[in-house]
Symmetry: none
Subunit: 389 residues, 2 copies
């Protein structure tokens, strides 16, 4: 695969590729150096004799040309700030406080698959949750993701077991439209690695109708720190993060913390209080750290507020009994549950004049709620009784 | 059953009994009349020739003596404002806006069972929800109720199928303690009626360790309007309302509206978004109209905060203790937490003359807060102790 003309190996791209190999992603010290000096000066400083950086030894032996070859062999493109495919919203990470000592805008991203990352991310939502999920959580993640993609909103997740996989699969199960990318998997390993190994098929499906993204160099494996760094990208790339099932301790909780730090909406799907996998979503809702979402309409209303009135909820139509006037209701309630009653007795029970009772009875009869069983004797119809049961 | 001395059939009690029979509960017009004129004048006006009230025809034929006999035959007491057993917090309804055209403080309450309604209600919580509940909802209602009662908080509900029944049963399944009332069922029918009929056993169990309450006269049946009126009592009697499972259309939703109107905390147990019975709780949470509760600890944290600060924003009705005069309060606080004390010792502890101590003790006794256990030896009542606990 040849390098596209807009991804030429300029000095800036070479310096960023080198930094992305040598420095652990999310490292606060290196982020500050790059933010202050720029990538090329930061890289030069790292390789300068006498550098006291912990990354200096790696930097000195690093072979940029070999790394370029390796990246090109993976079929991935290495995207940096300023490229058309660079997702501008990652800039939010420049202003974020560290979370668990990770921070900063990535120096570059390896991207592989179909579609444009910047375009996909612009209107996307993240769906994250437990690896050890229940069928309830997987069902909900799959449904939400499916509906969101059908509504034009791509879904970002982490390609893990459980909720992540359900989110990707829901997106991939949509109708194949105009070739738009439907999902992005943000990895905690190199773009040529498959983790977990059982997700080889999922990776392949994602690259067919979506994108794999990572800030880790080819060949790199996931570590705990790398999952934490990866989570900040999921949160920053998407317009908001939805959490579906997560136990008290959960990586998804960390993603949500990043979403908050980025000022992006945090949404949670509630679950039965009897399930330990409801702990984190329900707690976030209890503590007002997340908005409750039950459906894709709820999510769209939060993320696409234009015209949200038409999206919120499906109002059930009022029943005939709801539409009655006050006097009609009183007469209806005064009719006996069983058997019939005369108008005089009804007048006393309803505390309304006989004349008015007759008017209301006729009105109720016209609506099918009461009938004159014999002359002068009135009763409720089955239609009304059905409503009571 | 003879009438207790403090429930004598005074002119006020007779007038309120008559009004409670003749006027539909929650009627806004009559509430305003009673609030303005007082019960006796309101009753006289209703029976006056030429009255144009819709209740006048019923009032003219009403036989108060026969009604007294009938009430006494039910074994219930008819409690009115000013009685020691009258729950002062119902006063909040005097200031509430109408909900579905129902409003007002009840003119009186029929009460039957074990324990003191005022004492039970003071630290109580309402648990309400769907009749057609799932095993999830019933399990949660039962558990929450059980744990709340074990923690000293009686549970109020409506004795309906489903969540209501589970709430009462959870309360009744607690250890039989010092004979305190553990639950109250607020009815939409007369105190001598059983609705639904299948709940005869539940009614009996509730009267064994709790209280039945209604503002409907003996013999009366429930109607849709009466359920709506009843719901305002559940909301006003309790310190807060918890909703566990309710479909989009639900009486429990109406109770929650009353709780909000009364300035009482509304709490909701979330449920799976795939269940129609989660619709109302999840929607209340989504719209920030309820606090999420997963456990009895969550409920206690909202209703019994360690510091009073967290209660700011919720209008708490004054308790009898709050309404005491300064000297009464001093004497009340000088009474020992356990055991009895003589008036001489009390006079020293309260730093008030013996003569005044006796006056204040009589006043406290009239309010049910203190009693003369043996001649000359005074003690606090359970009513006051309940407040302290």
């Amino acid at each position: 695969m040849s390098t596209p003309p807009d991804l030429r190996w300029t000095a800036e791209r070479r310096a960023r590729l080198a930094l992305a190999h040598v420095v652990e992603p999310g490292d606060p010290g290196m982020w500050r150096t790059v933010a202050t000096l720029g990538a090329q000066a930061a890289w030069a400083e790292l390789r300068a004799p006498g550098s006291r950086s912990r990354w200096a030894r790696r930097a000195v032996v690093f072979d940029t040309d070999a790394a370029i070859l390796r990246t090109e062999r993976t079929g991935a493109r290495f995207v940096i700030p300023g490229d058309p495919e660079w997702p501008e919203q990652l800039g939010v990470l420049a202003a974020c406080e560290p979370v668990q000592e990770r921070m900063g805008v990535p120096v570059g991203l390896w991207v592989r698959g179909s579609g444009d990352l910047a375009e996909l991310a612009r209107a996307s939502v993240a769906i994250v949750g437990a690896r050890a999920s229940t069928s309830y959580g997987e069902h909900v993640a799959l449904e939400l993701s499916h509906e969101l993609v059908e509504a034009g909103m791509p879904v970002i997740s982490g390609a893990a077991y459980g909720i992540d996989a359900a989110a990707h699969r829901g997106a991939l199960a949509t109708r194949d439209g105009a070739g738009d990318a439907v999902t992005a998997a943000v990895l905690a390993c190199g773009i040529d690695q498959v983790y977990p190994a059982a997700h080889a098929g999922l990776y392949e499906a994602v690259t067919g109708r979506g994108i794999l993204v990572t800030e880790l160099a080819p060949g790199e494996h996931p570590t705990r720190l790398r999952f934490l760094s990866r989570n900040r990208l999921i949160a920053a790339l998407s317009r908001g993060t939805v959490i579906v099932e997560a136990a008290y301790r959960s990586g998804a909780r960390n993603t949500v913390t990043w979403a908050s730090a980025c000022g992006r909406p945090v949404m949670a799907v509630p679950g039965p209080v009897t399930s330990t996998l409801s702990t984190t979503p329900n707690r976030l809702l209890r503590d007002h750290e997340a908005e409750l979402v039950s459906s894709h309409e709820d999510i769209l209303a939060i993320l696409s507020p234009v015209g949200q009135d038409t999206l919120i909820g499906h109002q059930e139509p009022p029943t005939p009994v709801d539409l009655l006037g006050e006097a009609e209701t009183i007469v209806l309630e005064a009719l006996p549950g069983r058997g019939t009653t005369g108008v005089d007795e009804l007048s006393v029970r309803a505390a309304l004049p006989v004349r008015q009772c007759l008017v209301e009875l006729e009105s109720l009869a016209a609506k099918g709620l009461a009938r004159e069983q014999e002359p002068g004797l009135w009763q409720l119809t089955r239609r009304h009784l059905g409503r009571r049961a």
